[in-house]
Symmetry: D2
């Protein structure tokens, strides 16, 4: 299930490691490579998840390119174990792209679009008036879209998923988290199945 493009986008740029790397890292600790079978590997991964032995999962790493509104990016970047490079509105001119919540009713929705567009017009006006970009952006709304590269290891990513798939998380970031869970599950089917069973739906 793809992410609805109105929320933004998630592109997996690169990744390193798989279920096998997690097993390899864990079996190095116990020097138990000879005990590796599909069943015992599966049990080992469950054990690591339940006992919170997180380091073996840190050797699997992903790089994503994310496009999302700033209020979502702000929640995202509170996750400190990971690397972010974001398009800077000090040096780039913002595009006229903003998120519109599609669950607020049509009257509110129209007011939303009006306000966002009005802010953007002011932004352009300031730039025309030679206000520099870093100052002009102050008038842009939290719904304006941003873009960043995110590199994160699987342990930190599982923490992100746990917190951001929770019912108490905001709807928009949950949609991103759901999609990322799918992408990652394709790469690590064994680990992520256990993660869902032992952590998410426990």
């Amino acid at each position: 299930m793809a992410l609805d493009s109105r929320y933004g986008s998630v592109i997996l740029l690169d990744h390193m490691g798989s279920d096998q790397r997690v097993i390899e890292a864990a079996r190095l600790c116990w020097d138990s490579f000879d005990k590796s079978t599909p069943e015992s590997d599966n049990r080992l991964i469950k054990h690591l998840l339940i006992k919170e032995h997180k380091t073996p999962f840190e050797h699997v790493v992903f790089t994503f390119k994310i496009r999302c509104p700033i209020f979502v990016a702000r929640q995202w970047m509170r996750h400190r174990i990971g690397s972010f490079c974001e398009r800077s509105l000090r040096y780039c001119t913002s595009k006229r792209e903003f998120y519109n919540p599609f669950t607020v009713g049509s009257v509110n929705y129209n007011e939303y679009k009006l306000m966002c567009n009005g802010s953007y017009e002011s932004y352009l006006l300031f730039i025309d008036n030679e206000v520099n970009q870093e100052t002009a952006r102050m008038v842009l709304p939290l719904s304006i879209m941003t873009e960043f590269m995110w590199t994160v290891n699987l342990s930190s990513l599982m923490n992100f998923l746990k917190l951001r798939l929770d019912k108490s998380a905001q709807h928009e970031i949950r949609e991103f988290a759901k999609h990322i869970l799918e992408v990652v599950t394709e790469i690590l089917p064994v680990t992520m199945k256990s993660f869902e069973q032992e952590i998410l739906y426990k």
Copy 2:
């Protein structure tokens, strides 16, 4: 020199450690407590700074309460070695407080105020229309004020100061950094004098 209140505010809530703690941590490594004199301690601190032996500075910790616009907070929170608790606009209603750049000329300034107030009026309208707060906030501008508690060790704080006092940093966060440098210099006069000499103005 106090921070101009138009930028926001910085309150030092608590701190732990002083010049003496840095010395103590460093002298523990070398077991050289007997060599401590004001002159040798001063040289030791310079040596630590120049050779980037950063851990002794990590045992001095500060807790600040910061009030600043969101575009400043976003730059601030990119500094991952430190702890942040921020007022959440998912659960609180934003106050009508926003930063206005006072260097953009009076025509632009008036347009700014107009746009910010207009956004805030829409925000209130959405809340009246029973749009929930976390959704309504999307229309608020990056100039809206936020508030957070920041706990940071001296090593990470010196990195913050180095990057955010740099000429290439944005004017607004430089004003905060200047003020924090003053506050911290009162607490660690020896260390911060060496920091200015060996790192900032080198």
Copy 3:
């Protein structure tokens, strides 16, 4: 209950914050200072622990001075969120102080003492022969005592306690963890009581 001095020692050098700081940090997020009563504060702390909202606990910080054998220090320093300054055997001569396990039976115990003392005699001999300290130390056993300063926030400390008080942790580090739990409970009685109930003995 003090730590048996045969294991080493734990000295609390400094700390910053208390139960009240945790409450203050959490209530800043929700702007709910007016709801603070002893009962609601207690419930709030339980809620933070259960839902793994860890950042409010990061604003409470401790500095300890620890003396322990190297095999314990190695386990300790795997906890990356925290600051360590350790006495360096590159620059200091090691003292003749090593940990002797008192549960191995008297025959083994005598062999232990013999081997440790033999290693230390070789170490001294090398130094006499003008082998430099950093090389000579290579012959010292993992039971040799070391000393370090540790600064850690309460969130990371609770993670340390959870893992190192677990039955599967090694006996020696569990003794240190038990003692640290006592020290910290005196400073934050409300938080640590909830931590025991909701996390440790769940």
Copy 4:
């Protein structure tokens, strides 16, 4: 130039990203993909290094398998930004493999070998006497070999190289650092050449 096998070994298990990923991450911030030429990319990398804009380098990640003596591993694991999974002497029996410094003169060298072997014999004796492994290991010397998996991003790796290639670093870890510099230079020739010029030999 391969690492002398007496020190241990370094195996690159995996890596993610290249010079191009650094450029891509940096150009995302400035939205300057259209300005990319070999010359301007080269200048950009130098600029990032000199101004300490470290995040673009964090999107390149390496996984190594390292074999080295414990006194080297202890220095290595002080580098907190990175992931380690180490063979555990709680669960595995140590092999009779230890590092012998080959610069101490033959008399000392023989004493070294004698002591290390003696410690190992005691270790085996304890295990025969049903002392558990985690306790028996306490008699093993700091020269005993260990093995770990290390996942680290390029920014943290450059910090490791800067500190551990320094003249003041211990000989043994410098040999590892030299070899790792070579391995990484093959993967990122442009970045590492600039790193040598602008950071290492400045």
